[in-house]
């Protein structure tokens, strides 16, 4: 194993262990499962629709993540800076991007775990009917990728401040912008004056449209690349911000 991979895995492992040695992990998982259940069965009219699929489950994920993912991400760097451990971490012989990536991956795997724990919904729908399990798997992958996008934004915002509440609010706002950029209320701001190319670009930035495509079972390479680029961009910004602001 190369030393860079080893360094990233070491940071990731420590971070993940940190989640489970405090109530944070359990509170998050319980709330995530309860909320997704509430959304699916009440707001999503899971039974009343009479269709054996998980559309009512997945369609609320963007809105669930909007608040829950920043709650996980807010402590990533703000807490390190407040407690001074950032000085310890970043004077170890590992580069800043390795630390950023390790912490991000820990949070991403953690959200992935919470997502896997929703499997009773999947069992339920298979018990009730014959859903297209390929679509469901695709939607799970899309949901996890979208969570990664939110997390990368949240991690970057967390590097901006020592205050977790500020980090939380900033990431909710930025995530909200990314979520909505394809919807008419944002697009109306641009139509009429902006060139079509910019309109397309803004519409293309939306998490919603890319997630919608994957959750219908269409795994398009462009959607995968999109989420990959979003994560890379925000994590790169995160690394640069940290280099500049770590000691403030």
């Amino acid at each position: 194993m190369s030393s860079a991979v080893y360094a990233v895995l070491n940071v990731m492992r420590r971070e993940l262990a940190g989640y489970f040695s405090t109530p944070v992990a359990w509170v998050f998982i319980v709330i995530f499962l309860v909320m997704s259940g509430v959304f699916t069965f009440y707001l999503g009219s899971f039974y009343e629709r009479g269709i054996a699929d998980l559309q009512p489950f997945f369609q609320f994920h963007p809105w669930l993540y909007l608040f829950l993912v920043p709650a996980i991400a807010m402590r990533l760097w703000a807490e390190e800076r407040r407690s001074g451990t950032v000085e310890l971490l970043l004077t170890l012989p590992l580069s800043t991007w390795q630390a950023v990536l390790g912490k991000f991956l820990a949070a991403w795997f953690f959200v992935g775990l919470a997502l896997i724990l929703t499997f009773p919904v999947w069992i339920t729908v298979n018990y009730l009917g014959n859903p297209d399990n390929g679509v469901i798997i695709s939607a799970y992958i899309g949901s996890w990728l979208m969570a990664g996008g939110f997390l990368a934004i949240g991690s970057c915002m967390s590097a901006l401040t020592q205050n977790q509440v500020v980090a939380f609010i900033l990431s909710v706002v930025v995530c909200f912008g990314f979520l909505l950029s394809g919807l008419p209320m944002v697009m109306n701001l641009f139509t009429g004056w902006a060139p079509q190319a910019l309109l397309d670009a803004v519409a293309d930035f939306s998490f919603l449209s890319h997630f919608a495509a994957i959750s219908k079972g269409v795994i398009d390479i462009r959607d995968l690349v999109y989420f990959g680029l979003v994560m890379m961009f925000w994590l790169l910004a995160n690394t640069i911000l940290l280099e500049i602001r770590k000691a403030d």
């Binding site: 360094a7 262990a17 940190g18 001074g84 310890l88 970043l90 004077t91 012989p93 590992l94």
Partner: protein
């Protein structure tokens, strides 16, 4: 090329208009225990943060064992063990898991990491608490955990930022003993604002104020700069009469009477002990206390740091 050596070249750090460290140049060789002394905000911590790669210098650089801290930061960091100010650590982790994390980050793999953590636990007498979360430990123990992570890879260069700050006298003594035990064949740089610490630990002291190096000397050299160096202080009945007699001595310079203590300062290049004991015998004074002053570090420190700023 890879000899044990720190060389700071015009190391500087500026924040907007504030100059935290101003063109600091110095060299440290193997076996030296260097104390950074200075008032709060003098630039001691900033200098250490640059040496350890946490902060990038605004200009200048330092070379540690042949590795430039700007161009070759990771290699420089590998040879350093660092205790940041306040000994930060991940409070929710147990002592052992924290040290294993540090060991892996320092390049130990598998069983080696466990062994390295175990031996650091032994060396810092943490064997009573390895499975306790760090946040539940006392301040003294937390400091030892901080030292344990700094020495886990047996670094050639140890940089310790205020290692005994906030500890009680017993804990201070203990931490100093640990540092002294490690000092052979290494370079140790500590920062402190405690003068007695320099005396107890260091064989070299640098006084820094406003980011500039004011004095670079041995602790003994520092103390001989004190006007109290080689002065004699006595507590005597009828001090005024004794004062007038002693001030007539050719070997005596100034004589000061303060709170019943009579202090006689030597004239340039003179020794006082014999002439004063002779005078006591001759006049039959009743003396309850008589001491030869080594010098007062706090006075030297004030004189150097204040003398520069005012």
């Amino acid at each position: 090329m890879n000899e044990l050596r720190i060389e700071a070249r015009q190391l500087s750090k500026r924040y907007n208009n504030l100059v935290a460290v101003d063109q600091l140049s110095f060299e440290v060789e193997a076996g030296e225990v260097l104390g950074f002394l200075g008032p709060n905000g003098a630039g001691k911590s900033t200098t250490m943060k640059m040496l350890t790669g946490f902060l990038t210098p605004t200009s200048g650089t330092a070379v540690i064992n042949g590795h430039d801290i700007v161009d070759d930061s990771l290699a420089a960091r590998r040879v350093i063990g660092y205790l940041p100010e306040g000994a930060p650590s991940y409070g929710e982790m147990t002592v052992r898991s924290f040290l294993e994390f540090i060991a892996r980050a320092r390049g130990f793999e598998g069983r080696e990491a466990l062994l390295a953590a175990g031996s650091a636990i032994d060396r810092l007498n943490l064997d009573g608490v390895p499975e306790q979360p760090i946040e539940t430990l006392s301040k003294g123990f937390k400091r030892r955990v901080g030292l344990a992570q700094a020495i886990i890879h047996d670094p050639q260069v140890l940089i310790l930022d205020e290692p005994t700050d906030g500890l009680d006298p017993n804990q201070k003594h203990e931490v100093r003993r640990l540092i002294r035990d490690m000092s052979r064949e290494k370079i140790i740089v500590i920062s402190t604002h405690l003068l007695e610490e320099v005396h107890a630990l260091c064989n070299r002291a640098m006084i820094i104020s406003d980011g500039r190096l004011l004095v670079d000397d041995s602790p003994i050299g520092l103390i001989t700069r004190s006007r109290y160096h080689d002065a004699m202080t006595l507590v005597v009945e009828q001090p005024e009469r004794a004062a007038s007699v002693l001030s007539e001595l050719p070997q005596a310079g100034k004589v000061e009477l303060r709170e019943g203590e009579l202090t006689v300062f030597p004239a340039e290049g003179c020794k006082l002990f014999e002439v004063i004991t002779d005078a006591i015998r001759e006049h039959g004074w009743s003396v309850s206390e008589l001491r030869l002053e080594a010098g007062r570090l706090d006075e030297v420190f004030r004189q150097i740091t204040k003398g520069e700023t005012t």
